[in-house]
Amino acid sequence: MLNMLLWIAGFIILLVKLMIILGVLLFFAGYLVWVERKFLARLQIRYGPNRAGPYGLLQPLADIVKMLVKEDTVPDGADRAFFLIAPAVVAATAILMFSVVPFGKDLTLWGQKVPLVVTDLNIGLLFVFAMSSLGVYGVALGGWASNSKYGLLGGIRGAAQMISYELPLGLSLVPIVMMAHSFSMVKIVAAQQKYPFILFQPLAFMIFAISSMAESKRIPFDLPEAENELVAGYHTEYSGMRFGLFFLGEYVHIMVFGAIMSVLFLGGWRGPFLPPVVWLLIKILAVALFMIWVRGTLPRLRYDQLMALGWKVLIPLALINILATGAVGLMIN
């Protein structure tokens, strides 16, 4: 009976956590768009949105409501089922990745230990990669199912790019796993009690940062949607909230990679004075602002250059980094 009650309580706590995290995540993803528009505007000597609410703070609301009540078109000749499901795949996989990110120390509620993570999988990192790989389907299928040449080209580019950059992304993290002796995100944060890993693994951090920008399809790696070449790439044919989901997926992706970067390299929720959740948010925001800044500065790579960078530079570097980390580890122990 008690077990039953505990199970129910645990389930309720999980649901509450899920709701809070989902709400907060979507809220921040929405406001990340606002941050991006404002920050880019400042980089470009402009004001940015400032009419919808004070400082344009209601801008994300306006955009979301508008997209929700916009006509949802499916082009003639599209593969209807895949076309409709693709945006959801992108958004859902991005959101799911967040479930293994710890955002604070364990909390004690009524004598119950409540871990501040949706689920502390012991293979947390692998889960992130698995989800990230599944996201490729959304892009590739969305582009292919649109029955549009631009969509198709965007989809192909997206698939190739995301699969290629999975590798350096994963390889760059092997040294972290080696240092933390665990795949669990919670344990990795714990391992950075004294110093954040960025101090030991700057190269891994760099590779990870570049690859995650490629994974979230941001300039200079936004080839799948490169508007100057492919109109809007894989989401050329999407309208209304389905397009909005692709958009949202991208921003959630930024948040997730920001979070993972903070967890793996920047000490996670650790930091002085402020509560852990706030620290995590600050770090995520810092990563996001960095990505926006990059977007405001750099041109776009070409497809073959992007591939060359991934396969000929980042992967070898990541492998060397693993070897070096192993060697140093052996020497110390």
Binding site: I45, V65, N228, A232, G240, Y303
Partner: protein
């Protein structure tokens, strides 16, 4: 009852929420047709910042757009595309018609232009202006926001029936729900003057005969010209005759049969080798006033006034039906030669033909296709002779004299036309150009006619293998504004505004070319101050053009920020231009014989401020690109063209200089006092995108140097010639004596008369050599106005540069070439 009240309360709240959201989330489509789009683009940049209204999210795909801003001229060839894009936008959607052309056809009442976009799609807000200033578009957006707030979308959104959202206005039909009669209502059945039924030129023409003018300018042959003339006469005897009179260059009349030999001789064997085909065009001579009495033509005309005018002609010169004009340029002696040859037409269809010169100059391909399109002259041996500018379904040849030029005289363009006349299938077109399919496994990708990075309405049909371009065919003519036909209708002064619009980023530079042509023809002396002022304006516009080029080039490569920086500087330049001329894009400030007004007070300070700030800012912005490894990877070695090819394809301007040739008209054939200024002609050798970038950036620095010198040494004196026969007199003088008042009256009302003759006037505009070839029959308007544009020649070489590269490179190449469509399609 209560439930009804509840429901309506809910509805009204929902209405408000939805309207509010839509109002602040109007995403415009990345869509532009012509000049107005430049002002639309300015709205997004720092000074105007459309982002404040949440409307900066430009969507390149119609599926994601809420707002279609039809900015610019709607051409009959592009109208089906406009309609299709509109139909691809999901509900609800709104339309802003920006600028006079889109509103009503504006100043382009001419065969290729739809007289108002509201004939094919519904319009919510009209923004007047030509072009409207960015502020005007902002106001248009605010008006649209107000309109949205008055909608009742909730019932639609929840599928309850009723309610209103988006554009609900009907598409208008000419003659039924709208009228384009400029005289307003009440004149049905009364003929409009200036149409083919009551040609203005005939009336004015008769009056022109009352005015006396001196003969056209008589050019003195230089030594090298005389040598070439002697060689030609010796070699070809009576088959090549030196034209009795020429105002600008060595001119020869050649028999049709020996034309090709003469051209071959001039290109390869004569003492001065003319390696470039500068221009190739035709003149329809059938309406020459001093033509030998033409019985067939006279009897064929049913209309009384016209027939009378034709039949009364005195026997005079024996013109052929058509004249072909070839103009060549020699680099080593910096001179040109013009070869003319008469063609006789046969039958009622007026068929004429001559040999193609595509084997001598590959660039002749498009020139000959254009002549075929416009005059119906056939070229034997041409590889792919079909229409170039007009769509394939077009009937008639617009530049023939019996072709009425006005759109209002043709059947109105309707919604059904736009439905029916979709552009030709890409595969089909590629087959047409290549005389057979180019491999069946290719993947054809249409880039354009409307695409973010084609810089206007250009259509590239790329045959792809993966992302590599195996074949590239271009289709142009989507921006054909019939400037040449307009030149035959508008009086000499009235034509000036049309020249601006021929290259909407180069503004006064083109007025300058045009004025040069007319001044050469009539031998008008331009005062020194006016010359210097023209140089000042031309260089300011060069800066402004190159800044836009830099912005768009960077944008094409995915760098969004340089756009905003360079546009901020461009605003500063436009402020100076506005101070001097009162205009922004289209200054319309040059007049024949000088300028419209003197420099205003405070011009020097404004110019000095600009020259002090600009170089520093330029270096700052350049840091974003010049040494950026991604930028270099995207441009170095991409789109390479050799100097040899560049010359044989007739490439001019910075694109030619990037191949290693220091050829700049300002240096090599100086005009308007350019010889008095110290500046260099920057060159690069690689001929790739990066070289083109370096050359243009350096050109900006040189322009600043010239501006500095002009400002320092601005001569005093008159801003317009004293020869009031050809100029609009200065106001203070006009008010003082009766002679000047008469000149003012005549030149402003029916326009001045230019003596019989022809002349080519050319200047180095930002994009290369832009020339006007004006042929006068001694009337108040030109007999033939040929526009030789740099873009036409430059873009023709695009397939040569882009084949074998990838799609991304194609975009980079187009960006680096600085193309603009009105000067390609004219």
């Amino acid at each position: 009852m209560e439930r009804g009240v509840e429901a309506s309360r809910f509805e009204s709240i929902a209405d408000r929420v939805i309207n509010w959201s839509r109002k602040f989330s109007l995403w415009p489509m990345f869509f532009g047709l012509s000049c107005c789009f430049v002002e639309e683009a300015a709205v997004f940049t720092s000074r105007y910042d459309l982002a404040r209204f949440g409307a900066e999210v430009l969507r390149p795909s119609p599926r994601q757009a809420d707002l279609l801003i039809v900015s610019g001229t709607v051409f009959k060839k592009i109208a089906p595309v406009v309609l299709r894009l509109y139909e691809q936008m999901p509900e609800p959607k709104w339309v802003i018609s920006m600028g006079s052309c889109s509103n009503s056809g504006g100043m382009f009442d001419v065969y290729s232009v739809v007289q108002g976009v509201d004939q094919i799609i519904p319009v919510d807000v009209y923004v007047p202006g030509c072009p409207p200033r960015p502020e005007a578009l902002l106001e248009g957006l605010v008006i649209l926001q107000e309109k949205i707030m008055s909608e009742r979308p909730a019932r639609r959104v929840f599928h309850l029936g009723g309610g209103t959202q988006g554009t609900e206005r009907p598409v208008l039909a000419e003659g039924v729900t709208k009228s384009s009669d400029p005289r307003g209502p009440g004149y049905p059945g009364t003929v409009i003057r200036g149409t083919s039924l009551l040609p203005g030129t005939l009336h004015w023409g008769n009056r022109s005969d009352l005015m006396w003018t001196p003969q056209a300018r008589r050019a003195v042959l230089s030594e090298s010209d005389a040598e070439v003339a002697a060689q030609l006469l010796e070699r070809f005897g009576s088959k090549a005759r030196l034209a009795p009179q020429s105002s600008d260059m060595l001119t020869f009349e050649v028999d049709r049969t020996s034309l090709k030999e003469v051209l071959h001789f001039l290109k390869n064997e004569s003492s001065t080798k003319y390696r470039r085909l500068d221009d190739l065009t035709a003149i329809d001579e059938s309406a020459r006033r001093d033509r030998v009495w033409n019985k067939g033509l006279c009897e064929g005309t049913s209309e009384v006034g016209a027939a009378e005018a034709l039949c009364k002609r005195q026997p005079g010169e024996n013109y052929s039906d058509f004249t072909m004009v070839y103009q060549l340029l020699s680099f080593e002696s910096a001179c040109r030669v013009r070869i003319k040859t008469g063609l006789e037409a046969k039958g009622g269809e007026k068929l004429a033909s001559t040999a193609s010169v595509t084997d001598l100059w590959p660039s002749a391909n498009w020139y000959e296709r254009e002549v075929f399109d416009m005059f119906g002259i056939r070229f034997d041996g041409h590889p792919n002779l079909h229409r170039l500018l007009m769509p394939e379904w077009w009937e008639g040849h617009p530049l023939r004299k019996d072709y009425p030029g006005r759109a209002t005289e043709m059947a109105p363009y309707t919604f059904e036309d736009a439905r029916k006349r979709q552009p030709m299938d890409g595969m089909q077109l590629s087959t047409l150009d290549n005389k057979g399919p180019t491999g069946d496994r290719e993947f054809f990708l249409n880039i354009g006619p409307h695409h973010v990075s084609t810089h206007g309405l250009l259509r590239c049909i790329a045959g792809l293998e993966g992302e590599q371009i195996k074949s590239l065919d271009l289709e142009i003519g989507y921006h054909h504004r019939a400037t040449e036909k307009l030149g035959e209708r508008q009086s000499w002064h009235q034509y000036i505004p049309y020249t601006d619009r021929n290259d909407y980023l180069a503004g006064s530079s083109l007025e300058f070319s045009y004025a040069t042509a007319v001044e050469t023809l009539a031998d008008i002396k331009v005062p020194e101050r006016a010359q210097a002022m023209r140089v000042l304006l031309a260089e300011l516009y060069r800066l402004s053009n190159h800044l836009v080029w830099m912005a768009t080039f960077a944008h094409d490569l995915g760098a969004m920020t340089p756009n905003f920086y360079t546009f901020a500087e461009r605003e500063m330049i436009l402020d100076v231009i506005e101070l001097i001329t009162g205009g922004r894009l289209h200054a319309e400030f040059v007049r024949i014989g000088g300028l419209a007004a003197d420099l205003p007070e405070g011009w020097k300070e404004a110019v000095d401020k600009l020259t002090a700030i600009f170089p520093r800012r330029l270096s700052e912005y350049e840091k974003l690109l010049r040494k950026n490894p991604i930028f270099m990877a995207r441009t170095k070695g991409i789109g390479r063209i050799s100097l040899e090819d560049a010359i044989s394809w007739g490439i001019t301007g910075p694109n030619l200089r990037a191949c290693g040739m220091a050829w700049d008209l300002r240096k090599n054939m100086p005009y308007s006092g350019y010889e008095n200024y110290e500046f260099e002609v920057p060159t690069a050798t690689e001929g790739d995108c990066y070289a083109r970038y370096l050359v243009r950036v350096e050109e900006m620095r040189q322009s600043i140097k010239i501006i500095e010198q002009v400002a320092r040494n601005m001569p005093s004196g008159r801003y317009v010639t004293e020869d009031y026969r050809y100029a609009i007199p200065r106001r203070e003088e006009m008010l003082r004596d009766i002679e000047t008042l008469i000149h003012h009256f005549v030149n402003v009302t029916r326009g001045m008369k230019i003596p019989v003759g022809e002349a080519y006037g050319v200047t180095e505009v930002p994009r290369g050599e832009h020339g006007y070839y004006a042929v006068s029959d001694g009337l108040g308007s030109a007999y033939r106005m040929r526009v030789r544009s740099p873009g036409f020649a430059n873009i023709q070489a695009l397939p040569l540069m882009a084949t074998g590269e990838s799609i991304a490179d194609l975009i980079s190449i187009i960006g680096s070439m600085d193309v603009i469509l009105p000067d390609i399609d004219r």
